[in-house]
């Protein structure tokens, strides 16, 4: 299990990285934290001819609070930062809660958030979190510079909206309004594994406690992270309680059609999606109405 030979580039600036990518678009791959790509290369399932190693791009190693209240996370920021960074803890509780479900500490110390998103594994937690949060993805090439909405970013298994020469250089997590409650829940065979099913919830309440907006995003439920739009819409304007969330969960179960996996059949995954929706919504409403944003 040794990777095939490749040529190695270790650009020190973003500009150099993008130039290299432009030059060797087809035969190169970006290496971020490497926690998904390197095992794939060890099995020789991936054999890039050129590896453009982003680990030396210190200019992208930031977590920044914008004046808009949004948070930007640069391409080389590791998962660990989502656990310990004060800005994330204070402003993005959903990201902070979910990151602890991403593999194990050794992986989180090395893997990057943006690398994880660009990898676009449908069973991964963070794509669902981004969908729920309506995050934006900053794609840049040597000639282009654009922002992609989360709903437009994930196209398929390991497939994103990034064009050939583009690189995901940062993401933006929008600021959270008042009366918002979030929750991430997943069930995996062993903690640290990819989830059999997982849900990210962002729930916004009206002043009277009814649902103003509800976002439900699921991991391992399709060939990308997916939303459940009918279920989301069904809660708007209603109080959020055991009875209403049960109805939402029922809609989720009709709306999703997850594929079979080794450890979980489609039927069981669908069932879990309902269970998790109910539990996570109740947790989210508790947080929204308690004013407590942070994960318990």
């Amino acid at each position: 299990m040794k990777p095939a030979r490749f040529k190695y580039a270790n650009p020190k600036t973003l500009n150099d990285a993008l130039s290299l990518r432009a030059e060797y678009e087809d035969e190169s791959r970006f290496l971020a934290g490497g926690q998904s790509l390197l095992p794939t290369m060890a099995f020789r399932l991936a054999q890039p001819e050129i590896l453009i190693d982003l680990n030396w791009l210190h200019e992208l190693n930031y977590v920044r609070l914008e004046t808009s209240g949004a948070i930007r996370v640069g391409a080389t920021v590791r998962h660990r930062e989502m656990q310990v960074n004060r800005l994330i803890i204070d402003h993005q509780p959903l990201v902070n809660e979910a990151v602890f479900q991403v593999a194990h500490q050794q992986i989180r110390n090395r893997g990057t958030l943006c690398g994880n998103l660009a990898h676009a594994d449908p069973s991964s937690e963070m794509p669902a979190v981004m969908l729920a949060l309506e995050a934006r993805f900053h794609a840049k090439s040597i000639d282009t510079d654009r922002w992609i909405e989360a709903v437009d970013f994930f196209l398929g298994v390991f497939e994103t909206a990034l064009e050939g020469p583009e690189m995901l250089i940062e993401i933006e997590l929008p600021s959270m309004p008042e009366r918002i409650g979030t929750s991430f829940m997943e069930l995996s065979r062993r903690p640290g594994d990819y989830a059999m099913m997982g849900v990210a919830v962002v729930l916004t309440l009206n002043k009277d406690g009814t649902c103003a907006n509800c976002r439900l995003a699921f991991c391992n439920a399709s060939d990308t992270a997916v939303l459940a739009p009918k279920a989301m819409a069904s809660l708007v304007g209603k109080p959020v309680n055991e009875e209403t969330v049960r109805a939402v969960a029922n809609i989720v179960q009709t709306e999703l059609d997850p594929p079979d996996n080794i450890n979980a059949s489609s039927a069981y995954k669908t069932h879990l999606a309902g269970v998790l929706t109910r539990r996570a919504l109740l947790k989210a409403v508790e947080r929204a109405s308690g004013g407590a944003r942070a994960a318990a």
């Binding site: 299990m1 095939a4 099995f43 069930l187 065979r189 062993r190 080794i262 450890n263």
Partner: protein, 781 residues
């Protein structure tokens, strides 16, 4: 002569092997670096069943750093099918169709992963580069994958020289089951399927071989459980003298059965190619290879029935089962024979009739992995007991108690041929106290009468499982040991068995320390080097402590006697007036009159004068121990689980073990063995399953997908010991290595059924492994 007292034997002693292992100094086979060392990689079949029409190595030969590319046509004599490791047992009417593999396939491949070519290169990286471009012209054939379907008339035949996929068929019986069933009050029939998975020692297999033509010897370092066996196998395959081969098993990172001798192709090829090339060659199995290239356990389907009288006394058991053998059967019938014998459990079963059919399939080879088929058998009998208790309205523990082999009935002859080819006889046992102790520690009465109903009222689903098991351990043929006192006064013990984490460096030292009047730290145990000790079999079948332990005990006793004789002579007194103490021979009356053991060792090897006739130099003795038959350990496991009825996730709340492995050498070590066994049992019960596709591909061949239990899945356990000495050996010890793993799935199934009150809903858990998904589907129907 002072009487030996047990100062260290039987006590908790921290381990001698730990300092090296804790500081990164322990030598494992992958750490062996030699000058002029080359690296091997293998081209393996990507198909479970295919013809080979040709192999083109021309592109690979042109790559940098390639030393040699070997295919079957290069092998000569080595290319013949390997011998059986374990021959067919002497069972009347046995049908046995031997099929073993060749080191490199040339015409047919019969499982994914079967080696086809070997590359030797300057580095492993370069060797793998070459395997990528070796073109093998495979012509894919149909497969036999499903265990039952592989016996159908239209099944693909795995071995073209056979007319069916029956690898073996063996009926063993005692009494007359049919007659017993006729007279029975109740007969219960069920079908059980039991999958056991892969061992996955954290260190994969590996071997380094070096041919030294200055001395015409072959040096081999191997992650093996049986270094002497490997030496013998290499000698046989390569036409060499055993004495010209030195096999060293250094620290071995877990074995669990799969590093015993199987004539693994790589283990034959690496030494052979090292000799051919006149250099050192290294191959370390990677985890991807391990999934297909190392033996694994697998499934059995049992159609079993139990006949009982109205009081719940067993009149007889009948079992007909299929065993998935994989593509070849180098290890004979060891695993299914263990299953066949284990169905008898801890009970008096006067009439038993069992027929096993072993089936060739296009899957990797099945060989013993911790428990080695015993899990399957214990699951069958323990589940039958649970169902019988329910149908007869008896308490699950009461029905077991009534049927236990009574304490005074030992030795208990079960009349079957066991895996060691002797008649299955339980040497000693005392089952009721183990059950009593379990009921006490788990507080069964309180749980059933108070806790469970209260929890149920709260809407919680908590259940209990209590099962019994026995384990045949400590089988022959023999082990030996040589003990020498060094001039430093340290006591050196060499034995032929290997060691893979069983704490031999400590347990064996404890045996010796008491005889020699030294501390365990002053005893050096050397295992697994065939130049140090020629004879031996290996560490498997829970036999190390029993067989090697007793050989060491005998040798230590002999050396102690020599030391006392020499010491008495030196101190000018009678042998009865001296004792071994504090590394010295001392006079009993005045312990300040003493001579150090090291000095006696020097005196016993004089440079002038003759060694007296009838004596030998040194403080040294060699002894062997071969038990007439195995010894039988037993125990009771109790588990309390909570099930989330929505998700079917099972949370283990408590796990208790009452275990009897006879006399204990080091309770800390025994606890560790039990813990590790239970952890593997939990994997077996709920997490680990090899998923084969219809074309014979393993679908979950990574450790991200094949689920080994982590610290989050394994609960804390309470282990209690009962010591019923074995009658087969002077130390009274029984094996413990495999015990923990054996009854876990049975306990788990009982507890989950209980938690969810499944029998009331007409659901029984008859298949292992379980999973949340499987449980959910069962409860939906």
């Amino acid at each position: 002569m002072g009487k030996k007292t047990n100062r260290y034997f039987g006590t908790r002693q921290r381990r001698n092997e730990d300092p090296a292992l804790l500081t990164g100094r322990g030598l494992f086979v992958a750490d062996v670096h030699l000058s002029n060392m080359r690296h091997a990689a293998f081209v393996r079949s990507p198909f479970a069943s295919a013809k080979i029409n040709g192999i083109d190595t021309s592109a690979a030969k042109k790559l940098p750093g390639i030393v040699a590319i070997i295919t079957a046509e290069d092998l000569g004599e080595l290319g013949r099918p390997t011998p059986l490791v374990v021959p067919p047992p002497p069972i009347e009417g046995l049908e046995f169709n031997q099929q073993t593999q060749v080191p490199l396939a040339s015409k047919r491949v019969r499982y994914v992963g079967e080696p086809v070519a070997m590359v030797i290169a300057e580095t492993r990286y370069l060797a793998e580069d070459a395997t990528d471009v070796i073109e093998v012209d495979f012509e894919e054939l149909p497969t036999a994958i499903d265990l039952e379907k592989s016996l159908h008339d239209d099944a693909f035949i795995v071995h073209e020289d056979m007319s069916s996929n029956v690898a073996a068929r063996a009926r063993q019986f005692k009494g007359d089951y049919a007659k017993a069933a006729k007279a029975a009050h109740t007969v219960i029939k069920r079908r059980f399927t039991y999958e056991h998975g892969m061992a996955h020692p954290m260190e994969t297999r590996g071997i380094v071989a070096q041919w030294d033509d200055r001395v015409n010897r072959l040096f081999v370092w191997a992650a093996t459980q049986g270094p002497s066996l490997l030496r013998g196998a290499l000698a046989g395959m390569m036409g060499m003298n055993e004495g010209d081969i030195r096999v060293i098993a250094p620290f071995v990172g877990g074995g669990f059965g799969v590093k015993v001798l199987y004539y693994y192709p790589e283990e034959m090829l690496i030494p052979w190619v090292a000799k051919r090339l006149g250099c050192a060659v290294k191959w370390i199995e990677d985890r991807g290879e391990h999934f297909v290239a190392t033996v694994q356990e697998r499934g059995q389907i049992h159609d079993a029935e139990i006949a009982l009288d109205k009081n719940g006394m067993i009149l007889g058991v009948k079992d007909t089962f299929l065993h998935d053998n994989g593509a070849y059967n180098p290890y004979g019938l060891t695993v299914p024979l263990n299953s066949q014998c284990s169905v008898l459990g801890n009970y008096v079963i006067p009439n038993y009739d069992s027929t096993m059919t072993c089936v060739y399939t296009n899957k990797p080879i099945v060989g013993p992995f911790r428990g080695a088929g015993r899990q399957h058998g214990i699951f069958v009998i323990e589940r039958l007991m649970d169902i019988a208790a329910r149908e007869l309205g008896l308490d699950r523990n009461e029905i077991r108690r009534r049927n236990y082999i009574p304490h005074d009935a030992f030795p208990f002859n079960n009349e079957l041929i066991f895996q060691d080819f002797t008649v299955l006889t339980y040497d000693t046992g005392n089952y009721e106290p183990a059950l009593d102790r379990m009921l006490e520690v788990i507080d069964y009465k309180k749980f059933i009468e108070d806790e469970q109903p209260n929890l149920k009222a709260e809407g919680r689903h908590v259940g209990i499982g209590i099962v019994s098991y026995m384990e045949g351990t400590g089988i022959g043929p023999y082990e030996g040991a040589k003990i020498q006192v060094q001039s430093t006064g340290r006591v050196r013990v060499v034995t032929g068995i290997g060691t893979q984490g069983q704490s031999h460096f400590t347990s064996f030292a404890q045996i010796v320390a008491d005889h020699m009047g030294v501390t365990p730290e002053e005893v050096d145990i050397i295992t697994g080097d065939t130049d140090q000790f020629y004879w031996g079999a290996g560490t498997f079948a829970s036999r190390g402590a029993v067989v090697a332990g007793n050989a060491i005990n005998e040798a230590a006793e002999a050396v102690a006697k020599i030391a006392l004789e020499k010491g008495a002579e030196h101190l000018g007194c009678a042998i009865n007036d001296v004792a071994l103490e504090d590394g010295h021979v001392v006079t009993i009356k005045d312990t300040t009159k003493r001579v150090p053991l090291g000095e006696l060792a020097l005196l016993a090897n004089p440079m002038r004068g003759a060694v007296k006739p009838g004596t030998e130099p040194g403080l040294e003795a060699t002894r062997f121990f071969g038990p007439e038959r195995g010894t039988t350990a037993n125990g009771v496991h109790g588990v309390i689980v909570e099930v989330d009825p929505e998700t079917m996730f099972v949370n283990i709340l408590k796990y208790f073990i009452v275990h009897d492995c006879g006399v204990i050498i080091n309770p800390m070590v025994v606890d560790g063995q039990i813990h590790g066994g239970v952890a593997q049992g939990i994997g077996n019960a709920f997490y680990e399953k090899i998923e084969f596709s219809e074309s014979g591909q393993i679908q979950n061949a990574t450790l991200a997908d094949y689920l080994l239990p982590t610290s989050m899945e394994v609960p804390d356990m309470d282990v209690e010991h009962i010591e019923t000495p074995s009658a087969t050996n002077r130390l009274g010890i029984k094996g413990v290595g495999e015990a923990g793993a054996i009854p876990v799935a049975a306990a788990f199934a009982q507890a989950v059924e209980d938690a969810l009150d499944l029998p009331a809903k007409g659901i029984e858990l008859l298949d292992i492994p379980l999973s949340p998904d499987a449980l959910w589907i069962l409860t939906q129907s």
